[in-house]
């Protein structure tokens, strides 16, 4: 255990205004870190061969924040990282805007790279957020991923 590590204080946010990427980066960088790796997820102008006009994101906010927090805990269990900042934006987003931003710091770069990749991949599978894609001729809910379903458990309650 290093004595110099700052107290664990990840920054995990759902926001409706543009994400302040620099604030997230500054949040995770510290003197003991040799690397900050970031992921900038942005709104693409096409989907399945159609021109996208804009996206609208909604979330089950309380659960989404809990699941994002779980990701930050997993990151720390799996990788020797320092700090994590994750922000996901909700509401209407225009082409080119950032929908999700992740920053991870670590003493050495491999951990930050791997943790950042793990964070976005896990977020896309487990965090209850949905996007609706608006096209010139209509709108559709984006094809999503099914979160890992819990094992069906038998009722544990005794009969009497």
């Amino acid at each position: 255990m290093s004595m110099t590590k700052s107290i664990h204080a990840d920054l995990l946010l759902l926001v409706r205004d543009p994400i302040d990427q620099d604030a997230l980066i500054q949040h995770v960088r510290a003197d003991e870190d040799g690397a900050v790796v970031t992921f900038d997820g942005c709104v693409r102008n096409h989907s399945h061969g159609r021109r996208t006009l804009y996206l609208d994101y909604e979330a089950y906010e309380s659960m989404a924040l809990a699941k994002i927090r779980e990701i930050s805990v997993q990151l720390r269990e799996k990788f020797p990282i320092h700090l994590v900042a994750i922000a996901h934006r909700l509401g209407r987003l225009e082409i080119g805007e950032t929908s999700v931003f992740i920053a991870v710091s670590s003493a050495h770069r491999p951990a930050a790279f791997e943790a950042c990749r793990f964070a976005i991949d896990t977020l896309k599978r487990t965090v209850p957020i949905w996007k609706k894609e608006y096209f010139e001729d209509g709108a559709v809910w984006a094809d999503g991923e099914m979160p890992p379903a819990p094992v069906e458990t038998r009722a544990a309650k005794p009969a009497s």
């Binding site: 209850p128 979160p147 819990p150």
Partner: protein, 88 residues
Amino acid sequence: MPLSSQTARVKVLFFGRLKEVVGQAEDTVELPDGAPIEALFSHYGVNHPELARFRASLVASRNQEFAAWTTPLHSGDEVAFLPPVSGG
């Protein structure tokens, strides 16, 4: 399955395309205490038979945790029916 005569008052949330099918984002339902999440979903199928075709692609949650469809419900629980997620 013997069910208690007590009722459970449960908050229900719908998201994404499911919200559009059911026509509401939030509801409160009374059902027999201990009834499984599956029974709650079936309750909405009465008025919205088209829900059946979403069943295989849905995940349920109870109190902000993914939950099996057999999970028994009690008063104060918050249940959500979650279409495949598409954040990021």
